[in-house]
C-alpha cells in the first residue's frame, strides 16, 4: 500500500540486474546536440524537390487535368498524375490486404488514396505532383496545373453516411459481415459486426438502474512534431531507394512496392530518426509519387516534405464517431448488462478502428450480458490512420462516463463500483475470448491507495474525476542480430524505429541475458536490406516483441559463448553455465572466465559470434490504466483548467521505468488534448477550417501540471521478463476522467468531445438551464 507521496512510483514485484534500471539512452547525445539525422536531412546528389497538388474539394469528379503549362516551366523535371501510377489489379473476391500499423486496407484503396484518378474523395486528396530543381519552382508549377472538377455533395459524419438518402461514396463498397457481403446495394457502411455475450435484454430487466446516452466525438490528429518526409531515388538498376520518417520501414517498403507494382526486394528503405508518429506514420503518402517522379526525371532523387496543413488535411487522423452506450446495474452494484452501438468514420476509404473500439468499450468489466454493434462508415474526410490505442479513446469515453453516473445513482464510490465489477483472469471479453493474467484490480487498488485520490479538493467549481482505460496491445514479427566485439561489447541491429527509447529498452533485455551493462550494447536501427522483417514501432509492441527477439538473439550468443569456453577448456558445453556475465564450469571452480575476457579470444577460437533472434509471438499482455484528474471549470466561459493529474498503469515489467513514465505522461497529455480542445473543425463543404497549429489547439506545457505516475507490475506470463506494451493505453482514460471531473465541478454530464469552452457552456445551458 502506498502511504507516502512520490511523484513517480514503481510498484515492482521482481528485480533484475539491468531490466528495471534507468541507463542513459544510446541515442541521447546525438539528439540533444542536433546531430541526429531526420528525414528532411537527406540530400543525395542531384536532389529534386517534389510537391503534390491536392484537391480543393471534399468530393468531386475529375473531369480534366492539363499539366502542359507546368511541364513547360523552367526547372521542372517531371510532372505526374494518377494516370502515371500503375493500375492495381482489381479481381473480385481477391483482396490484397496491406497492413498499416494497427489498421489495414485493401491495396486498391491505398492506390487511390496515394493519387486519385477519377474522383477525389477528401479535401487534400492528391491529384498530381511535380519534381523541380527547387521547392519554390515545384510549388509554383503545381499552381500551373489546370483541373476541372464536377463537385459532389460530401458526407462528413458516420450518421450522415448511414442515412438512407446519403450520397454513396464508393460504388464498389458493400456492407461486409465477417467476410461476407450482406447486400448487392453499394453502401457507405463498409463493415458491420456484432459481439454478443449472454442476453442483454434479460440483463437490463434485472437492473435497478439503466443509463443510456448518445455521444459524439470529433476527428483528431496525432500531432507529431516532424511532418512526413521522404526522399526517393529510382535507380537505373530498377531498385528504388527510400529514406523517410516512418514507424514501419518494412510496412512502407511493402506497401509502396505493391502500389508501384514492383517486387518488394526492389525497394530498400532506410528509416531516419523519427520525430513522433503515434500510429500516423505507417502509410506511404509521398513515397510512390516521389518514386515515379524520380523515374520520370531519369533517376534523380526526389524529396517531398509535407507542410503542417498538408499533415492535418491529407494524412490519417483518428476518426470522429457516434456511439450510443447503455449500461444497467443493480442497486447493490452489480453490472447486469452493457450495450453499445458504435459508428466510426473510416475516412475516404474503408478501415476505421471500430473493431478495436468494440473490443475496448467494455473491456474493464466482468459482465455476463454484452452486445456491441460496430459500423465502419466511409465519409469524405482523409482516410483514418492508427492513433495511440486507435478506437479505444472514443469508446471508453462513453462507457466510463456512464459507469461514473451509475455509481452516483446507486450511491457507490466510483472506484469501488469498478473494483466490484472488475475483469480478472478468465473473464470473457466482448468477443467471448477469456483474459489471461491481467492487472486491472491492481491498477484500481493503486489508484485508491494514491495520495491524490485521498487528498481534499477544495474550491468552487472544482471536481475530481477518474476513469479506466484498456488496450489489447500487439505482438507481431521482429528480428534482431547481435554481434560480439572483441572488447567485450556487442552490436545490436534491429528493424523497429526508435520513437520512445526502444533502442535502450531492447538493448537492456539483451544485456540482462549476457550479463553485461546496457551501455555495452551498441544498438542501431537498420535499413530493410540489413535485418530480417520487422513490423514497425506501433501497437505498443516494440519493447515486447523486438525485445523478445533481442532476448532470443542474446540467448543464441550465450550458447555460442559457452561452446567457445568448452573448446578452450576442452570440456563438454553441457558442463558450463553462464550467469551474470560469468562463464564457469559446473564442477571445476578453476574453470571460470567473464563474457568480456572470452570475447577477446574470439579470433583465436573460431572467429565471430553472431546471435540471431526472430519472433512472431503469442502471449501478448493486454494493458489497463487509470487516471485521476482534478479540474476547475469557469462557468462563465466554459474553460476547463487541469489542476492535478495522476496516471496509473500496469506495465507488466517496466524495462526502463523512465521511458514508461514518459509514455504515461505523453499519452495522458494527448488524451487531455483530445478531451478538452482538439478537433477537426469542418465546414459544410468538408474543408478543415483549423488546419494550422495556431488553430488546432493542442495542449502546451503551460496548460498542464506535471503528471504523476504509478507503474504497476503484474507480470505478463507470455514474455521472458513479463513485459506488457506501455505506449498506448495511457491515452484512453483522460477524456472520460475529465468528463467525470467536470460533472463534479459543475453538475453536467458531457456527451461530446472535445469538451471545449463552447461545448461546456452549451451543456450547462441544456442540462441546468
Amino acid at each position: 500500500m502506498t502511504t507516502t507521496y512520490e511523484p513517480n512510483q514503481v510498484l515492482s514485484t521482481k528485480e533484475f540486474k539491468v531490466v528495471g534500471t534507468r541507463p542513459i539512452r544510446h541515442d541521447g547525445v546525438d539528439k540533444v546536440t542536433g546531430k541526429a539525422q531526420f528525414g528532411a536531412d537527406v540530400f543525395p546528389t542531384g536532389l529534386l524537390y517534389g510537391k503534390i497538388l491536392r484537391s480543393p474539394h471534399a468530393h468531386a469528379k475529375i473531369k480534366k487535368i492539363d499539366t502542359s503549362k507546368a511541364a513547360a516551366m523552367a526547372g521542372v523535371k517531371a510532372v505526374m498524375t494518377g494516370r502515371d501510377m500503375p493500375e492495381t489489379p482489381n479481381v473480385p473476391g481477391e483482396e490484397r490486404r496491406i497492413t498499416l500499423g494497427e489498421l489495414s486496407t485493401d491495396l486498391k484503396y491505398l492506390r487511390e488514396q496515394v493519387m486519385a484518378t477519377k474522383r477525389v474523395l477528401f479535401r487534400g486528396h492528391p491529384v498530381a505532383a511535380v519534381a523541380a530543381t527547387s521547392p519554390h519552382i515545384a510549388e509554383e508549377a503545381t499552381k500551373a496545373i489546370e483541373i476541372e472538377y464536377d463537385v459532389l455533395p460530401p458526407v462528413l459524419t458516420a450518421p450522415e453516411g448511414m442515412a438512407d438518402d446519403a450520397p454513396i461514396i464508393h460504388d464498389d463498397v458493400f456492407t461486409d459481415e465477417l467476410g461476407e457481403k450482406q447486400t448487392d446495394k453499394p453502401s457507405n457502411v463498409a463493415e458491420h459486426f456484432q459481439h454478443k455475450l449472454g442476453d442483454v435484454n434479460k440483463g437490463f430487466a434485472e437492473a435497478d438502474v439503466v443509463i443510456e446516452r448518445e455521444f459524439n466525438t470529433s476527428t483528431v490528429h496525432q500531432g507529431y512534431i516532424e511532418p512526413h518526409t521522404c526522399t526517393v531515388q529510382w535507380n537505373k538498376d530498377e531498385r528504388v531507394l527510400i529514406w523517410n520518417s516512418t514507424q514501419g520501414p518494412f510496412n512502407v517498403r511493402d506497401s509502396a512496392a505493391q502500389v508501384l507494382d514492383i517486387p518488394i526486394s526492389h525497394v530498400r528503405l532506410t528509416p531516419m530518426e523519427i520525430g513522433g508518429g503515434f500510429g500516423g506514420k505507417f502509410e506511404p503518402y509521398g513515397e510512390p509519387p516521389a518514386a515515379i517522379l524520380s523515374k520520370m526525371a531519369g533517376g534523380r532523387p526526389v524529396k517531398i516534405v509535407m507542410t503542417r496543413t498538408e499533415e492535418l488535411e491529407c494524412t490519417g487522423p483518428t476518426p470522429g464517431s457516434y456511439i450510443k452506450c447503455k449500461i444497467g446495474a443493480t442497486k447493490e452494484g452489480k453490472i447486469t448488462a452493457m450495450q453499445a452501438h458504435m459508428a466510426y468514420e473510416a475516412g475516404a476509404f474503408p478501415g476505421s478502428p471500430v473493431g478495436a473500439g468494440a473490443m475496448c468499450v467494455f473491456a474493464p468489466y466482468d459482465v455476463e450480458n454484452m452486445l456491441v454493434d460496430g459500423y465502419d462508415v466511409v465519409v469524405n474526410k482523409p482516410k483514418t490512420a492508427a492513433y495511440r490505442a486507435p478506437g479505444a479513446t472514443n469508446a471508453e469515453f462513453t462507457s466510463e462516463t456512464i459507469i461514473d453516473e451509475i455509481a452516483e445513482k446507486i450511491g457507490m464510490e466510483p472506484l469501488e463500483f469498478r473494483l466490484m465489477n472488475a475483469a480478472k483472469e478468465g473473464t470473457r471479453q466482448a468477443d467471448g475470448a477469456p483474459y489471461d493474467k491481467i492487472g486491472l484490480v491492481e491498477v484500481i487498488e493503486a489508484m485508491k491507495d494514491h495520495p491524490h485520490y485521498n487528498a481534499p479538493l477544495e474550491g468552487k467549481n472544482r471536481g475530481r474525476g477518474m476513469a479506466l482505460g484498456y488496450w489489447m496491445n500487439a505482438g507481431l514479427q521482429s528480428s534482431v542480430n547481435i554481434a560480439v566485439n572483441q572488447d567485450g561489447t556487442a552490436t545490436l541491429v534491429e528493424g523497429s524505429p526508435d520513437i520512445g527509447g526502444s533502442r535502450t529498452s531492447i538493448s537492456m533485455q539483451a544485456a540482462e541475458v549476457l550479463g553485461i551493462q546496457a551501455e555495452d550494447i551498441h544498438p542501431s536501427v537498420a535499413d530493410t536490406d540489413s535485418v530480417g522483417f520487422s513490423f514497425g514501432t506501433g501497437g505498443s509492441r516494440t519493447t515486447f516483441a523486438t525485445g523478445w527477439a533481442a532476448y532470443k538473439a542474446a540467448e543464441d550468443v550465450k550458447q555460442q559463448m559457452i561452446e567457445r569456453a568448452a573448446l578452450i577448456w576442452d570440456v563438454d558445453a553441457d558442463s558450463i553455465e553462464m550467469e551474470d556475465g560469468v562463464l564457469k564450469s559446473k564442477s571445476d571452480p578453476e574453470l571460470k572466465t567473464t563474457f568480456k575476457e572470452l570475447a577477446g579470444e574470439l579470433n583465436s577460437t573460431g572467429g565471430p559470434i553472431i546471435g540471431r533472434g526472430a519472433v512472431d509471438p503469442k502471449g501478448v499482455g493486454v494493458a489497463f490504466a487509470g487516471l485521476i484528474v482534478d479540474v476547475e471549470v469557469d462557468p462563465e466561459t466554459g474553460k476547463v483548467d487541469v489542476l492535478r493529474v495522476t496516471a496509473v498503469q500496469d506495465a507488466g515489467k517496466a524495462i526502463h521505468p523512465s521511458y514508461v513514465e514518459g509514455q504515461m505522461q505523453g499519452g495522458s497529455v494527448q488524451g487531455i488534448g483530445w478531451g478538452l480542445n482538439e478537433e477537426y473543425f469542418m465546414t459544410e463543404e468538408g474543408v478543415m477550417a483549423n488546419s494550422t497549429w495556431l488553430d488546432y489547439r493542442m495542449p502546451l506545457a503551460l496548460d498542464l501540471p506535471m503528471i504523476d505516475t504509478v507503474i504497476v507490475e503484474v507480470a505478463n506470463p507470455g514474455h521472458p521478463f513479463g513485459v506488457r506494451g506501455v505506449g498506448e493505453v495511457n491515452i484512453v482514460a483522460p477524456p472520460a476522467a475529465l468528463a467525470n471531473a467536470i460533472y463534479r465541478a459543475v453538475g453536467v454530464r458531457m456527451e461530446r468531445l472535445p469538451m471545449k469552452p463552447q461545448t461546456v457552456l452549451e451543456t450547462i445551458a441544456a442540462q441546468k438551464g
Partner: protein, 78 residues
Amino acid sequence: MREMTDGAETVEVEGSSVRQIINNLDEKFPGVKARLTDNGKMKANISVAVDGQVSPIGVLEKVGEESEVHFFPAIGGG
C-alpha cells in the same frame, strides 16, 4: 456466424489444428469454411484466437483437446 450454426453461440468439434477445426465445422455446418478462409488461409479480415491468444499463424495453429477457438473480425477491419 450464428446464422450458420443454427443460432448456437458455441459448438464442439474435434481437431488438432485450426485447419482441422474449420474442416470439421464445415462438415457440420456447410459454408463455414468458405466464410472463414480463402485459398487455405484465414481471410484477411478475420482473426482466430486459441485459448484467448490471437494466433499469428491462423489455420496452422495447434489446438488442444480442451481448447477454445474464437473467430472474430480482425482488429482494424476495412
